[in-house]
Symmetry: C2
Subunit: 464 residues, 2 copies
């Protein structure tokens, strides 16, 4: 008898008051307005660790959501991911208050200097004892490009080309510069590092150049665990090449297809199904009884902001829905992309005629996700159906009212899943990658391994 | 009777094992090899707070010290600021373990994207409750430029020109984008931010461009407390314009002159003497008796590395001293700069003929600083002489053997200074700037204030 497939939990939040399910910061029990306070984050991390969550993932955005009405007013008023603080700086705080929880953050690579960015991630991997993950994104907001002094961002596929170059240089720094036994810390001989075990990184790529030895000594995982959420063909190729944890969206049939598709692309590159973990985003509302869960949903709806959800959707698609007649079908060609996008991310939308009004009706909790609502057993049934029937490995649990959206999962849903043998009762010791994949470092079949010393001529030893 | 002048203490360390006094990581009691461990930093911060230190300052470097012998071997072997991790990521850890200690870090602005950098500092100012300071540097290592893909760094004065442009944009983001009452967090009205109180920053400078509203809401200090250490004429002008805490070096006569010089330059810009705090770097070894202090010095010397100190000096000056005959006077023209530099940073060097051997003799503790050694009363006398006679406000206490170099100061020297009425017994409440200068924000007479809304047309409100 084979063991039932285990379920992974990744809590999703951002360093701001309005992440995905908009408007809920106004709920009287929501504490996300404390986001500038250290203790908000250390307490949250402890709650998640109590519930044996695998990771807390902090998404990020580095421009204003200003497509709606062509200005950021709605985003500021409703707090749609703005103001937003740096997510990486929360990682040390949460690492100090926990021992096992994985700590993941988005960093948009488009505006980073690779060797300084690589040092930040390595520093965090040291400080967390190897619990860091990076969600690789290339951005989608022209406002972010303008904030960085550019007129507009690169085109979609060109962003991924640049990202491939960024990854190549990052792997050289993380995997190729310092050998495992370079650092000896020999006080008697007064040798901290053996220079002959440190290699110069030379990179002359289409987008990035560098000539350096990496600033940091090797951290437990070297390359952080890599998250990615590519939905386009080019994005899926990128995920198949680089990612370890992949965020997927859509209904069950669509997601099953995406999992098969990305897995096949990865296998063509020599990777294996077990090198990949797929996470689907869900809004979960769980109650001791179904009536309590339904009541909570209705209560949340009174504070949610469908308008903010739609304004956010405008930023994501680049289409200003404020200009549309609310009751006319969205049919003009430039919104075909929107329709397919919407159909791909909701589970009850096939064949529907979309208008702005029906879009708003869809966004009951200020986002496009249809919440999974019910008793622990009912919600667990749905999660198991995703894992066993669709092939995902876990869930991105999207924040609603914090902290209760997570304490409810910890106190009600996790015990139910544990009773079913579907969820760990204790953490596996070791790094995040060891917990998820059984090894601290990326496997030999990952592209990063080609940049290791001795694998190819990625650099020369500093000393003879 | 006027109150005796108070003495400020700024502990100096780096996120590495070899900062300034090289070789001491090999001392059996030195714990800096734990620098990758969170608890090393949280414990250090608590020690300093127990001793009512004003700040812990984390210096930084982002390239290899590879001038000596034209390669980084010595730097790697001896751990001369390499490997080195990111300092900013230590700030949240130390903030979580303390309540008052100011937390300062160097960031070389030359490779930063201004609006992302500004967000990092603002995030830290939020998380620390307004205890963050930034040491503004433009770098001096060509290796840092090559690591970032450039052939070499800008020339010295051009780096300061770029820095002025960087500061102008940073002030616009920190001071000019969000009004104090922009954020209302009104749950009932569902208004987090009033868009009419948020201003678009437009910057089209010689080096930096941006068109954005700042990502972060205002933090307690807005602009972090600004540290700087300009020694050249151009550097002093930069300090006079921007800096609040200024690091100075030299013998007493030289430092007195520098304090007068920078103060006069600042006053010409409308600033006041009380807007500036001057800190001189010192290596202090204090013992209960003079014999104990001397014994400790001798013990430290057995672990210190003058060679590493000289290799570091090579990186700082760009001159490879390994090529020199150790016993011939250093007289050729390109080392005149070295001689003046050396005379400026040591107190016993006037009129001396320098050779590589005498340079090495000077570096008894692996650095150019002549240690101040003695009983609490003897060391206190010397500090008081600096404060009363020279006009500095405090001291950069350079790390030797950690943590005892700081616990000795906390347990022996601080009580002596407190008995003399020269050192605070308790912290003043509030932000770091309030503790040092009596107000949370930069004063109206600082150049940053010219970028505030209403002061000049620095931006337009987002909404009508």
């Amino acid at each position: 008898m084979s063991e039932p497939r285990q379920i992974l939990f990744n809590a999703v939040h951002m360093n701001c008051i309005g992440d995905i399910a908009h408007g809920l910061w106004t709920h009287p029990r929501d504490e996300s307005s404390r986001y500038t306070d250290l203790t908000y984050w250390s307490e949250l991390a402890q709650t998640l660790e109590r519930g044996r969550f695998d990771t807390l993932f902090l998404a990020d955005i580095i421009g204003a959501n200003d497509v709606w009405q062509g200005r950021p007013d709605m985003a500021l008023r409703e707090g749609i991911q703005h103001p937003i603080n740096d997510p990486l700086l929360l990682v040390p705080v949460m690492a100090a208050s926990t021992r096992h929880l994985g700590l993941a953050a988005t960093v948009n690579l488009s505006y980073e200097v690779p060797h300084l960015f690589a040092r930040r991630l390595t520093t965090l991997d040291h400080l967390t004892g190897g619990r860091v993950a990076w969600n690789v994104v290339t951005g989608f907001l022209d406002s972010a490009a303008r904030a960085a002094g550019l007129d507009q961002q690169l085109a979609h596929d060109a962003r991924y080309d640049r990202a491939d170059d960024f990854m190549a240089l990052s792997y050289k720094l993380w995997e190729g510069s310092w050998e495992d036994d370079a650092v000896v810390r020999d006080r008697a001989a007064r040798v901290y590092t053996q220079p002959g075990k440190v290699h110069r990184v030379r990179h002359d790529g289409p987008h990035y150049r560098a000539d350096t030895i990496f600033l940091s000594e090797p951290s437990p995982q070297r390359t952080p665990v890599l998250f990615q959420a590519g939905a386009s063909g080019r994005g899926k190729d990128f995920a198949a090449r680089h990612a370890e944890c992949i965020f997927v969206a859509g209904n069950k049939e669509q997601v099953a297809q995406t999992v098969r598709d990305i897995t096949a692309r990865a296998q063509q590159l020599g990777r294996r199904r077990e090198d990949l973990k797929f996470f689907v985003g869900l809004v979960v509302i769980v109650g001791e009884t179904e009536a309590q869960a339904r009541e909570r949903l209705e209560e949340y709806r009174r504070y949610a902001s469908p308008e903010a959800g739609l304004a956010h959707f405008s930023a994501q698609t680049g289409i200003d829905f404020s200009r549309f007649d609310p009751d006319l079908p969205i049919t003009n060609p430039d919104t075909q992309a929107v329709k397919s996008f919407l159909e791909s991310v909701t589970t009850q939308s096939q064949g529907k005629t979309w208008t702005v009004r029906t879009l708003l009706d869809q966004m009951t909790l200020g986002c496009r996700n249809v919440p999974v609502v019910g008793t622990p057993a009912q919600v667990a049934d749905e999660l198991v159906a995703w894992v066993d029937g669709v092939g995902v490995n876990g869930f991105n649990l999207i924040r609603t009212v914090v902290p209760e959206c997570f304490t409810d999962v910890v106190d009600l849903l996790v015990p139910e899943l544990q009773r079913r043998g579907r969820y760990k009762r204790e953490y596996t010791p070791g790094t995040l990658r060891a917990k998820l994949f059984g090894h601290d470092r990326l496997p030999e079949r990952h592209i990063a391994a080609t940049y290791r010393p001795g694998v190819q001529a990625s650099g020369e030893a500093v000393a003879a």
